[in-house]
């Protein structure tokens, strides 16, 4: 029975492999680690380790998954490491030009906040990223109009 099941499993995975081919991107344990992080925010370091490993393996095999640098960067930002975050956001944009608008928007906001912070120190707010507030305000008012 066990043998049969194993055979069946092998057959299934062989068929699936033949059909979908090897996964294009290396996600590592992104999925369970993200879920664990949602359930328990104190699992942030587990999520971080999962991201780091997925990046490492992805870089090695040339199968780096989209969003991994950015997710890690955002995690670093939430831990107060702004320089590390900006670095990773830039890496994401470099690896995946599709993310350029989003990443450069976030980086611009962050670096502007930083330079403003130097001039008027009192005004600096922790590490909040404000992505194009106008655009989001636009979405809100559009909802009001639509409904």
């Amino acid at each position: 029975m066990i043998k049969k099941n194993i055979l069946l499993l092998c057959a299934t995975s062989a068929v699936l492999a033949g059909c979908v081919a090897a996964p294009r991107f290396e996600y590592g344990s992104y999925e369970p680690a993200l879920y664990a992080y949602y359930k328990k925010p104190e699992m942030a370091d587990k999520f971080e380790a999962a991201l780091q490993k997925a990046i490492e393996k992805g870089e090695e095999t040339d199968r780096l998954a989209p969003g991994m640098y950015a997710e890690l960067g955002y995690l670093k930002l939430s831990q107060g490491d702004q320089a590390g975050a900006v670095d990773l956001f830039r890496k994401e944009a470099q690896a995946f030009p599709e993310s350029e608008v989003f990443m450069s928007g976030v980086v611009t906001r962050l670096t502007r906040q930083e330079s403003e912070g130097v001039i008027e120190e009192e005004e600096t707010e922790s590490n909040d990223v404000k992505v194009s507030e106008n655009a989001i305000d636009g979405m809100r008012s559009a909802e009001g109009a639509d409904v």
Binding site: P32, P66, M68, F96, V131
Partner: protein, 236 residues
Amino acid sequence: MSFLYKIGSLKCVASLVALSTVLAGCVAAGPQPKDYSDFRAENPKSILVLPVLNNSGAVEAPEFFLSTVSQPFAQRGYYVFPANMVKSLLEDEGMSDPALLYSADTRRLAPIFGCDTALYLTIERWESQYVVIATSTNVTFKYELRSCKSGESLWAHTQQLSYSPQASSSGNPLADLIAQAIIAAIEKGAPNYMPLARQANALAAGTAGQGIPAGPYLPDVYQMDLQQFPAGEASE
């Protein structure tokens, strides 16, 4: 005793049936293929996964769903935006209510994210039935890709799935039955729906004629799969 053996072989039949469903989706489409004219015309390269709209009573469902949806869509050859970062940013901006987000114009996402498409995810049903030997969970997920350029729908899919976790077989039917009952009891207490969500999302993204065509990150098949993902009625 032969009754118990029957259950065992039934299980095998069930997995064979499941296997052939997968094969059917892979080799030849079962249901009528969708019309991919709009999708093909727009030729999107990136997907912005939006926070999940939950119409079911299961509070934990969106987290299972969101953490497993990026990968299968990316593996189809697309840039998928960092789902958790996007979700957190939207929450920081006071857009934590998916219902509001889902009623807004998709085009307004473009200046912020530079997305080609946004993926709208709705959980319509997520119900678990506890029936001693196996807990079965029935789900219905809705997926819709809307263009960030035109706001129009490029692809929509409804995925239904019935899922019950299986204990690995020990060769002793009675022991298997007990193991199955224990698993069912565990499922009732602290269920792990990771495999369920994975399976549903993989089927939704990858089934020929139903999912999404291969994207630019799959250069070997990109735009070569017109037969599996046809653009409208075959032109005469």
